[in-house]
């Protein structure tokens, strides 16, 4: 047999500015990476310019800021787009970033027809897990549909949508849930495309063929092989039966992958390397369902952002798999295995049953609240099992003793520190760009954009015009916000409880904690009331959801309002609600700006006596700084014992009450 071609190898990266990210991309390509994967910063992902007040402290933090065509041109300077395969992790503003990419190609003298790459462009998993949504479901689906119909006609090799199951697993989904809800999302998208009437029958079949997936692969890699086989069979059947696609090539399940990062640990972080390798096997071993593209997290995933060397180590894993091992030399090694087939059937049947249940709700949009709750319930079960030791995580809840690590000593020298000057540089560049553009053209292009948004005409031509005219990301976003309105996704925590099985040591500890919470209520005069807040643009909700659910199960009254709140909103809620403690959860690196702002705001409101605790990705040096600023406690991923965290919170609230 002829050796199979390796998958496209990528590294998910981008930070600080377009200039710095461009340098990084060229370095990565020189190391044998075969495609680009662009990480955008949160303001860009949520449609704000770098100088918007809400962007303060977030610019260039977890990705590259792209405010206008000047940024996009700089990002790809010296990288010929005609020969590049670029994946862009962009969703609510996908149509806009695609328009900027097309306009940049045109300025490079490249015919957009030949462009290759992917826009993630899956809004449903943003509502369910990832958090960078802007508009309500209906207009969001319409924007997705517009990019599909546009690319099918004008950029035939582009993957306009990567339906994502990846982020569902990161939010706790089981393999069955991952497959089922991703298929439901694909159905919502294709149904919208079909109903738009913009495509004929043959073109629609082409559009179906352009849908690709972005999946996850966890440590139970045999089950993952089966999951992917089930996924691919269901996709084949669904596209044939629901959409009448007759050409089997257009029904093929094509996917890219990022392996599981949720299980990567802060404790003994070197153990993450074997985890990543094993997870990569799940998506490469079986030829029939092998990934088309891969990106791997780094060993220091739970510590903070990876440095170039960390990313290189992960790229080398891919290269060793592809070029040193023999996995690319065989036909599918699982074909004919009864064991694999049985497991595949089991997942397939269960996933389809769940798809049908969602369809009974009226589809994925109507079922959003239900699905979110299912995900939180699964994640709660995962956390519970880790707490009881039913799920073993080496170095965390078992085999914890360790020799001193030469790789990691606990400070922040083992992660990338984004230069604080990058934000200033970016804003200066943005203001200079705005000053030199032709304002009349900008105004006209934005008027045309609004017109298209209102009339229902395809959004892409108007967006490409905006790109050339020098419109900014914030202006594009604001125009559509005015037409479409904004959305808040469900939190999913209401119906979820920890103690599905009321036994074992955790249940006993929880029971004892409840008794203590009741006693504290007597001291306080009323039940212990806490606010769990998620300030800033950060969408990482897992931690906050778990803390909220466990606090409730410990007998506390918990105010939780979901993600993306301004410091002002959190301060107002703390005041109006009369809480005894404020808990903040921040994972995307902007804690040093947001936390002091909230502490100051509380003091201004005369609420300086309310203790504040913070959890998330907080390097130890930053934690020290926060404690000095007045934060009572800081928690990080290594603090996995929920009852211990909770009783600690009770301690904090009680101590303050006694001194009041």
């Amino acid at each position: 047999m002829k050796k199979d071609a390796p998958w496209v190898m990528r590294t998910y990266s981008g930070h600080s500015t377009a200039r710095a990210s461009n340098e990084l991309y060229r370095l990565n390509l020189s190391k044998g990476q075969t495609g680009l994967s662009v990480a955008f910063d949160l303001p860009t992902q949520t449609g704000y310019d770098s100088d918007h007040p809400i962007a303060r402290g977030e610019v260039g933090k977890v990705g590259v800021p792209v405010c206008h065509i000047g940024d996009m041109e700089m990002l790809f300077a010296g990288i010929p787009l005609g020969q590049m395969n670029t994946s862009m992790t962009i969703n609510a503003t996908a149509a806009w970033l695609l328009a900027l990419y097309i306009a940049t190609a045109e300025r490079q003298g490249v015919d957009p027809k030949g462009l290759q790459g992917t826009t993630q462009n899956d809004i449903i998993k943003e509502y369910l897990s990832r958090g960078t949504y802007i508009f309500p479901p209906e207009p969001s689906l319409r924007l997705i549909s517009d990019t599909i119909t546009y690319t099918v006609a004008h950029i035939p090799k582009w993957n306009p949508v990567n339906v994502c199951s990846y982020h569902l697993q990161e939010a706790g989904a089981t393999p069955v849930q991952e497959v089922a809800y991703a298929l439901c999302s694909a159905i919502a998208i294709l149904d919208t495309v079909r109903a738009s009437g913009q495509l004929g029958e043959a073109e629609f079949a082409e559009a179906v063929g352009r849908i690709s997936f972005f999946v996850n692969s966890g440590i139970r890699f045999i089950e993952e092989v089966c999951k992917l086989r089930a996924f691919s069979q269901l996709w084949d059947e669904l596209t044939r039966d629901r959409y009448g696609v007759t050409d089997p090539k257009l029904r093929r399940f094509r996917y890219g992958v990022q392996v599981n990062s949720l299980n990567l640990t802060e404790a003994q972080p070197e153990n993450n390397i074997p985890r990543i390798v094993l997870e990569a096997l799940g998506v490469t071993l079986s030829k029939n369902v092998r990934c088309r593209a891969m990106q791997l997290p780094a060993w220091n995933e739970a510590l903070g952002l990876p440095r170039p060397w960390d990313q290189q180590w992960s790229l080398r894993i891919q290269q060793i798999l592809a070029y040193e091992t023999d996995i690319l030399e065989y036909e599918d090694i699982f074909d004919g295995s009864r064991v694999i087939e049985a497991k595949t059937d089991e997942i397939k049947r269960a996933a389809w049953a769940e798809v049908e249940r969602v369809m009974e709700f009226g589809g994925v949009i109507a079922a959003l609240d239900y699905i979110k709750e299912q995900l939180v319930a699964s994640h709660t079960e995962r956390v519970r099992r880790i707490n009881t030791g039913e799920q073993i995580i080496v170095g965390v809840n078992k085999f914890t003793e360790t020799a001193p690590s030469p790789l990691y000593t606990g400070d922040s020298s083992a992660i990338l520190k984004v230069d604080e000057a990058a934000e200033r540089e970016q804003i200066a560049r943005l203001r200079a760009f705005r000053a030199q553009r032709n304002q009349a053209e900008v105004t006209a292009a934005l008027a045309a954009l609004r017109e298209a948004a209102v009339s229902g005409a395809n959004i892409m031509p108007a967006s490409i015009r905006c790109a050339h005219a020098g419109v900014t990301t914030g202006e594009w976003g604001q125009t559509l916000r005015e037409v479409f309105g904004e959305f808040r996704a469900p939190t999913g925590i209401r119906g979820v409880t920890v103690a599905s099985r009321n036994e074992g040591p955790v249940a006993t500890q929880l029971e004892a904690l409840r008794a203590r919470v009741r006693r504290v209520a007597d001291t306080l005069g009323r039940p212990l009331k806490v606010l769990i807040g998620k300030p800033g643009l950060d969408g990482h909700s897992n931690g906050a959801e778990q803390i909220a659910v466990w606090c409730r199960d410990a007998g506390m009254e918990v105010v939780y309002e979901g993600i993306r709140l301004t410091p002002e909103q959190i301060i107002n809620s703390a005041r109006d609600e009369g809480v005894h403690l404020v808990g903040l959860s921040i994972l995307s690196g902007s804690h040093l700006r947001l936390v002091p702002e909230i502490l100051a705001g509380l003091r201004d409101e005369g609420l300086g006596h309310i203790p504040v605790v913070v959890g998330g990705i907080i390097p130890e040096d930053d934690a020290e700084q926060l404690r000095r600023a007045g934060v009572a406690r800081v928690y990080t991923p290594k603090d996995f014992e929920m009852v211990r965290i909770l009783s600690d919170m009770v301690d904090v609230a009680e101590t303050v009450a006694e001194h009041a």
């Binding site: 309500p136 609240d369 309105g485 808040r488 939190t491 925590i493 209401r494 409880t497 103690a499 409840r514 919470v517 009741r518 005069g525 009323r526 039940p527 909220a548 659910v549 606090c551 409730r552 199960d553 410990a554 007998g555 506390m556 009254e557 918990v558 105010v559 939780y560 309002e561 979901g562 002002e568 909103q569 107002n572 809620s573 005041r575 109006d576 609600e577 009369g578 003091r603 409101e605 005369g606 609420l607 300086g608 006596h609 001194h659 009041a660």
Partner: protein, 326 residues
């Protein structure tokens, strides 16, 4: 505690200026069960009682997930726009097992940070499914400080009757999935509401059907206030102006028909009745040793009907007396 962070004493004038810090502190006081705080709380409410009651108290009730919070968010926006002082009291259920509660309603409400809007969430606590006593007393406080109070109930069981004890106008929100509504009508829940809102009417066909159903069910009614049935959508803002107008019209009706004061007076009586029944029930149950006590008593003999009756009669040995004056 240092001097800089010491909480200021409660001043009526600060409350009347709608200083939210003071309002929050006052509600904290109302919630506080310690005897000396209860004393202060009563004193505060008594002091306020002589002041006018400018607020229109609006109850928003309906099954879980129907869109109560989302609708309140739309109503807040309109009231704030009109320069009104708004108080929102949102009640969520408490867990029977843990006693804890997730208070998530305000997450669905957009609260303009600089307008006079005060939003407070309450757990239903031992008042399963209804409005807690704390929520009630908060409304008593806010009535003097606000132009409009919006109360969101937990939407099951007791809350329908509880809300009738405090609200001038009750809006029942339902989903446009047929069946739901007729069930409500049959179950007698329909006696309570003054306005019916079929939310999620962005799904037009279902909504139209639902409105037709309810309108038909109400068509035989002969009341001085013809209860309006409105199809609305909190998501798309559809007909929220009409809902807002209907709420205002009902208030106008109450005042012009001179029934507002009688309605409020009747509510007080009913509230006291339900409090007495609840309180005595609670004391009686405690006298029997709660569920566990009853369980033990019944273990000693077969749980026949007669035994159950005798058991309930045991409570009568607990003596009640009305002492003192109001």
């Amino acid at each position: 505690m240092t001097a800089t962070t010491r909480r200021r004493p409660l001043e009526i004038s600060a409350l009347l200026r709608f200083e939210r810090q003071a309002i929050a502190a006052a509600v904290n006081l109302l919630e506080d069960r310690r005897p000396e705080r209860q004393e202060q709380a009563r004193a505060l409410l008594d002091e306020l009682a002589v002041l006018p009651v400018p607020a229109h108290v609006v109850g928003i009730t309906g099954p879980p997930g129907v869109g109560k919070s989302s609708l309140i968010s739309r109503l807040i926006a309109r009231a704030a726009q009109a320069g009104k002082r708004v108080g929102v009291v949102a009640v969520d259920p408490s867990s029977k097992v843990s006693g804890g509660a997730l208070l998530g309603d305000r997450g669905r409400m957009h609260v303009p940070p600089h307008a006079p809007v005060f939003v407070r969430s309450f757990a239903a606590r031992d008042r399963l499914g209804g409005l807690s006593r704390e929520a009630f007393s908060a409304v008593f406080l806010l009535r003097h400080l606000c132009d409009v109070i919006l109360i969101e109930t937990v939407g099951v069981g007791q809350s329908e009757t509880d809300i009738a004890h405090i609200a001038d106008t009750v809006v029942l929100v339902v989903q446009p999935f047929s069946g739901d509504l007729l069930q409500f009508i049959k179950a007698g829940v329909m006696e309570v509401p003054d306005i019916l809102a079929v939310n999620k009417a962005d799904d037009t066909t279902l909504a139209r059907k639902a409105v037709a159903e309810v309108t038909a069910a109400l068509s035989l009614e002969r009341r001085s206030w013809a209860r309006p049935v409105l199809a609305v959508s909190a998501t798309t803002d559809l007909h929220i102006d009409a809902l807002d107008a209907a709420i205002a019209a009902h208030y106008h009706h109450l005042r012009t028909a001179h029934v507002l004061d009688t309605r409020r007076a009747e509510q007080m009586v009913e509230w006291v009745v339900s409090e007495v029944m609840y309180e005595l029930g609670r004391v009686g149950l405690a006298a029997l040793g709660g569920s566990t006590g009853i369980h033990t008593l019944l273990e000693r003999q077969p749980a026949t009907w007669g035994a159950l009756r005798r058991l309930a009669a045991l409570v009568q040995r607990v003596e009640y007396r009305v002492t003192g004056e109001l």
